[in-house]
């Protein structure tokens, strides 16, 4: 009996290799998403070798990492960023690749636009030169990040050499508490298994709490699978998946739709499928999460305190904690809710979809950002998310509260454009990585859910959003 991962894998093996179970298999790739940072060298090498892309129609390209979130009519100010984006435009134009250019309303973060367009479909293999490609696994597909050499490999051959991972099932049963979201599930899992806990595994998220999540929530969860070390995260197909896809531009229609849906309904693990490892969590026990350190596993609950390295016996772990606290400018045993912030960022491929913006707007409505907050940013995941939010009046809610309402892109998640933290600045961020310097050199990142970030912006410090919801 097969796991979902077994089924997806078996569907795509072109050649098993010659070394038995230990071989590198040749895996067929259905969808190749491309962005400006990890593709220029691949296109260049392809050209030098005199090769052409194998199947142009499998590729969808967009610039997201470098694009400015303000003043787009003036183009990109930074010449190196501009060259990188222009290089993508040029490569796509020359080869006839579908690309959503910067001023196209469909432009946005690659992991937001793929699903939004229906370019991500169940049963596919989806790759992109970006580790957060795991996001697309929310649709019951096998999706994982690759490096630039592999981008070139997929361009040239429509295949990748890959070794099958082990399988892990993470089961979350029960009902989430008020104000607790998919982001909190993701961070709680990483807190439990660590950032290397999923290394070598493909993770399937299952259980009643996962079934109850919307597609946006499932994408947030699968997005963070890589922060648990797993290249791929996935959720089985159900009605929620199918309803989300129906009617999207790249999705099949009519007779093909019916045929596709019939197949997609088989994309789940068989009841007696065996996993190499299983992790269980109780949904009711998950509280809103806040990271305190420089790795996503350095996380606690909003009612917790910054841990004390002296309580840790293992030398390397203790040193890492001390280093992290020094970088973060935090003392052991500081209550999380007493941590004050300088900036707030709501956005990224983890949390910039319509549901995320709605959740944040609900907290913000009728209130104002604390006077101590220097900048509170909302960066929608795509032009279409932005449009939808504006139709619902969310932009007005954010702006009235003192948030800036920006154009779509990766923005302050990795600070490749002008949106960044200055040295020592502390940020509540809905992104995925709290590494040193990630949001700007010397910047201090605390990862949280959109509602938690919004509540922190209003209070100027972390507050328990589940308490807010109750009052």
């Amino acid at each position: 009996m097969q796991t979902l991962y077994d089924k997806l894998w078996a569907q795509h093996v072109v050649d098993t290799g010659s070394n038995g179970a230990d071989s590198m298999a040749l895996l067929y790739i259905d969808r190749h998403l491309v962005h400006e940072v990890t593709s220029p060298q691949a296109f260049e090498s392809l050209k030098i070798a005199g090769r052409k892309p194998w199947r142009i129609s499998s590729i969808l390209a967009v610039a997201d990492h470098n694009v400015p979130t303000t003043g787009r009519d003036q183009g990109i100010g930074d010449p190196t960023s501009r060259l990188q984006v222009e290089t993508l435009d040029q490569n796509c134009d020359e080869l006839g690749i579908t690309e959503f250019k910067m001023n196209d309303q469909r432009q946005g973060i690659v992991h937001v636009i793929g699903p939004e367009q229906g370019a991500t479909l169940p049963g596919m293999t989806v790759v992109c030169g970006d580790s957060h490609t795991s996001t697309h696994g929310a649709f019951g597909c096998l999706a994982f990040g690759i490096g630039t050499s592999e981008v070139e490999h997929v361009l040239a051959t429509q295949c990748l050499l890959a070794k099958k991972s082990k399988s892990m099932r993470i089961v979350v049963e029960g009902k989430l508490g008020l104000g607790v979201t998919a982001k909190d599930i993701a961070l709680a899992i990483i807190g439990k298994i660590g950032t290397a806990g999923g290394t070598g595994y493909a993770i399937e998220f299952a259980g009643s709490a996962i079934r109850a999540l919307t597609m946006e929530g499932r994408m947030t969860l699968c997005n963070m699978a890589i922060e648990a070390g797993a290249r791929a995260g996935m959720v089985a197909v159900d009605e929620t998946t199918i309803q989300y896809i129906q009617g999207r531009p790249f999705a099949p229609q009519g007779e093909l739709w019916d045929k596709a849906v019939a197949y997609w309904r088989t994309l789940h693990s068989d009841p007696d499928a065996v996993f190499d490892q299983t992790v269980n969590l109780e949904a009711a026990g998950i509280r809103p999460q806040v990271t305190w350190g420089t790795s996503p596993e350095m996380v606690t609950t909003v009612d917790g305190v910054v841990p004390d390295p002296n309580d840790v016996l293992e030398d390397i772990k203790r040193q890492d904690m001390e280093q992290a606290l020094k970088y973060m400018g935090l003392q052991p045993n500081t209550p999380i809710q007493s941590i004050t912030l300088d900036k707030v960022f709501i956005g990224s491929c983890t949390n910039s979809r319509i549901e995320d913006l709605r959740a944040a707007a609900e907290v913000v409505k009728g209130k104002h950002v604390a006077s101590t907050i220097k900048l509170a940013l909302v960066v929608p995941g795509s032009g279409l998310v932005k449009y939808q939010a504006e139709q619902e009046g969310l932009d007005k809610i954010f702006q009235a509260a003192g948030f800036e309402w920006r154009e779509p892109g990766c923005s302050m998640c990795l600070a490749m454009n002008d949106d960044r933290l200055s040295k020592g600045e502390r940020c509540a961020s809905t992104s995925n990585r709290n590494f040193e310097g990630r949001q700007g050199p010397g910047g201090r990142t605390h990862l949280v859910s959109p509602a938690m970030a919004a509540a922190a912006a209003i209070a100027g410090h972390f507050v328990d959003v589940s308490q807010l919801s109750l009052s």
Binding site: V14, D15, G17, N19, D22, M24, L26, Y28, V37, T38, Q41, E44, A49, T80, S81, L83, T87, L121, G123, M124, G129, S131, G145, I146, G147, T148, S149, E150, E152, H153, A156, T157, Q158, C159, L161, S165, T195, A196, T199, G200, I226, A230, R231, P252, L256, W257, K259, A260, S295, I316, K317, Q319, L414, A415, M416, F435, E436, G437, P441, G442
Partner: protein, 212 residues
Amino acid sequence: MEKFRTFTGVVAPLDRANVDTDAIIPKQFLKSIKRSGFGRNLFDEWRYLDHGEPEMDVTQRQLNPDFILNRPRYTSAQILLARDNFGCGSSREHAPWALQDYGFKVILAPSFADIFFNNCFKIGLLPIVQEGKIIDQLFHEVNETEGYALAVDLEKQILTTPSNAHFSFEVDAFRKHCLLNGLDEIGLTLQHAEKIKQFEQKRREEQPWLFS
């Protein structure tokens, strides 16, 4: 890709777990559309005291004397000894490019992040997984002995220390074959072009919505 057979190099110890690719090569250097020139900005935020930008002349920048690679005894290092989960985070191949461009040929650690591990093989940088106990011992020996070098024999899959102790290591047979012979993986895959076409045709018939 250059062939990799045997290699002896000085070892530098980087005693931190979870070294992420943002630390290996910070984002401001990813704006380049080239594959080379990343070595001077390897570990930029740890290696220099000032903040680095791509256009800066690194010879004019102030080195952080506390950073391990800046210590005179490690300036010629070509083997990096690291801790658990090395290379976690982003899929940027710029991280292995930067390590290789700096001069590293081998990275030794108890565990690596999947994407980074995979990316290394594609460019001929050899990541070796070695059990934690041995890594601990190597850290100890490197710290004790200036000029400490390890010999790596990929063919035999053996590491040899200056005191002639041997440690075997695992490496995937196909990856080893590619490294030993400096093979271009794309060329190898294209030998299966007919098979790929047949697979694609069958898929097109069975799941036509994937091709519309």
